[in-house]
Symmetry: C2
Subunit: 317 residues, 2 copies
Amino acid sequence: MNELAGKIISGDIRSIARGITVIENDDDGSVLLLKELYRHTGKAYLIGITGPPGGGKSTLVDKLIKHYRKQKLRVGVLAVDPTSPFSGGAILGDRVRMQQHATDGGVFIRSMGSRGHLGGLALATTDAAKILDAAGYDIVIFETVGIGQSEVEVAGRVDTTVLVTVPGLGDDVQVLKAGTMEIADIFAVNKADREGVERCVIELEQLLSVKEMDQNTFLPSILQLVAKENQGVKELAAAIEKHREYLMNDGRLEAKRRARVKDEVHNIITNRLDKWARAKLTHDLETRENLEELYQKKTDPYSVALEIINQLGIEKP
Amino acid sequence: MNELAGKIISGDIRSIARGITVIENDDDGSVLLLKELYRHTGKAYLIGITGPPGGGKSTLVDKLIKHYRKQKLRVGVLAVDPTSPFSGGAILGDRVRMQQHATDGGVFIRSMGSRGHLGGLALATTDAAKILDAAGYDIVIFETVGIGQSEVEVAGRVDTTVLVTVPGLGDDVQVLKAGTMEIADIFAVNKADREGVERCVIELEQLLSVKEMDQNTFLPSILQLVAKENQGVKELAAAIEKHREYLMNDGRLEAKRRARVKDEVHNIITNRLDKWARAKLTHDLETRENLEELYQKKTDPYSVALEIINQLGIEKP
C-alpha cells in the first residue's frame, strides 16, 4: 500500500492534510491515492450546510462541531469557497476556527477553493471527503457559501442537506425557495431573534405545503435557531438524525449513495475530458488562422468550435 | 437567409422570443440561427448586474430600464436564475415586470434557467444576448442572482459588471469581497438608507485600497443607492458610461471582446463534449457489469472512469 494512504487510514492529521493538497493540486498521485482509499470509505455521514451569504453558517457549523464532539464523534469540515480562485487560501474566519480546534485531533477543518476548471471543485471536495471518511471521521460537513449551482451541487454529494437562511432576505427569497425546495432536507432559519422571523417561517411553510407528497416523501423540518447563542443547535442535530433514520429505512441511503457513485464517475470523466480539451484547444486556438476571421465576424464561434471538435479524433460528438 | 433570423434582425418581438426558446431547448436549428446572426452582433453594450440575494437587483434593473428608455435606448434584460432547473419558467417578479413593460417594444425581458448540463446556462445566456444584440437592442443587461461561480461567469460575458450589495450582510461579506474584488467594475451599495451603510462603504474602500493599481487600472466606483426611491440610479448609469469610455480607450473593449470570443469557442466545445460524453456514458454505465463491483467497492470511480475514457476513441486524454 501507498505510504500516504496508510497514514491517512491510521488517522494521521498531517497526512490527511497532505492528501487533500495532493487532490487539490490534482497531482499525479491523486488517482492512485483515491483508488487505495476507496474501499475504506462509506462509514462517514455527510452533511451539507448551505445557503446565501450572511446566514451565519460558519457559526452554526462551529456549534455543530461542539455538539458532536460531546458525543465523542470525530468531525471533518470542508469549507467550500467557490469564489476563491481569486482569494487564494483559507479565508480569515476559517483560520480562526482552525486555531480554535487545533489541539483537538477529533476535528479537522479545511477550506477549499476552485481548481479553476469545470467541475473541479465538486470533484476535489468529494475526494477530500473520501480522505476524511477513510481517516475515520464519523461526520463530514460540507459548508458552502452560495446560492444557485453550488448549492444544488453540494446537495448531490451529501446525505443530508441543511439550508440556512435568515429573516429579511427580501424578495429574492423567492428565488432562493424555487431552487432549494427540492434540495433542502432541513430548513434552518438562523438569527431567529431578528425581525421578520415569523414571516420567513410562514413563507417556508407555504412553500412546503405545495410540495407533492406521498407516504415516502420526507417532510423537511423548519427550525428556528440563534446559532451564536447556541439556541436550536441540539434540535438541528436531532433533525439531521431524524433524516438519517429516514434514509436508513427501505434502503434509501444505499440508493442515494449508489446514484452518487454513478454521478461521480460521470464527473470524473467530464472533468478529464474538459481538461484534455482545454489543453488541446488553447494550443489549437492560438495557432489558428481563422481566429482573426472570427474577430472580424467572417466566421462564427460555432463554426470554429465544431471544426475543432471534428479534429479531436472522437467518434461522433 | 433563415426566416427566423431575418425576423429577429428586423426586431420582431415574437421571433426574438422564439429564437431564445430555440436556443434554450438547444434545438437543431440553434446553431444555424446563431451562425446567421453572428455577423449582426457587436453593437449592443452588455452590462452584468450581479450579487447576493436580497440586494434588490430586480428593482435596480427596472429603474435602469426606465433611465435608458428616457434616452430612447432599447433595453434587453436576461434574468438568469441558476436555480431554476427545479422551478421551471419565469419567476413571479419577472412576470410582473414583463407585464409592466409589455406595451413597450423597446424593452424585452426574459428569465432563463439552467439547461441542466455543464456550462449550458452560460452558453444559452450568451447566445440569447446575441439574439437581442442582432435585433438591435442597444443595451443588454444580464441580471444574475448568485455569489460564487455564477457571478464570476457573468463577469466574463459582459462589458461592465455591477456588483450590487447591501449593508448588513455580515461576516460573509468577506467571502463576497474575496471573489468579487476582481470582477466588479462598479460597486452599488443598494438600500443605502439602511443602518450600516457607512461600514459597508468603508469596507469596500479598504478592499479597493489593497488592489494593485497602475495607470491602466480602472478604479471601481462605490455608489450608494436606494433603487426603490430611484436614488442613485442616474449616477449608476453615469458610472457605467464612465467605465464604457475607459474601455473604448486604447482598444480595451476590443481586447476584452476578443478574449470573450475565444472563451466562447472553448465553452461551445466543452459543452458539446460534455453532452456527447454524457449520452454515451449513461448508456455505457447502465450496461456495465462492474457497476455492482463499484457499489461493492471492489473497484473505484477513478478506475471505472478511466476505463470508459479509454474506450471513447480519443487520442489521449
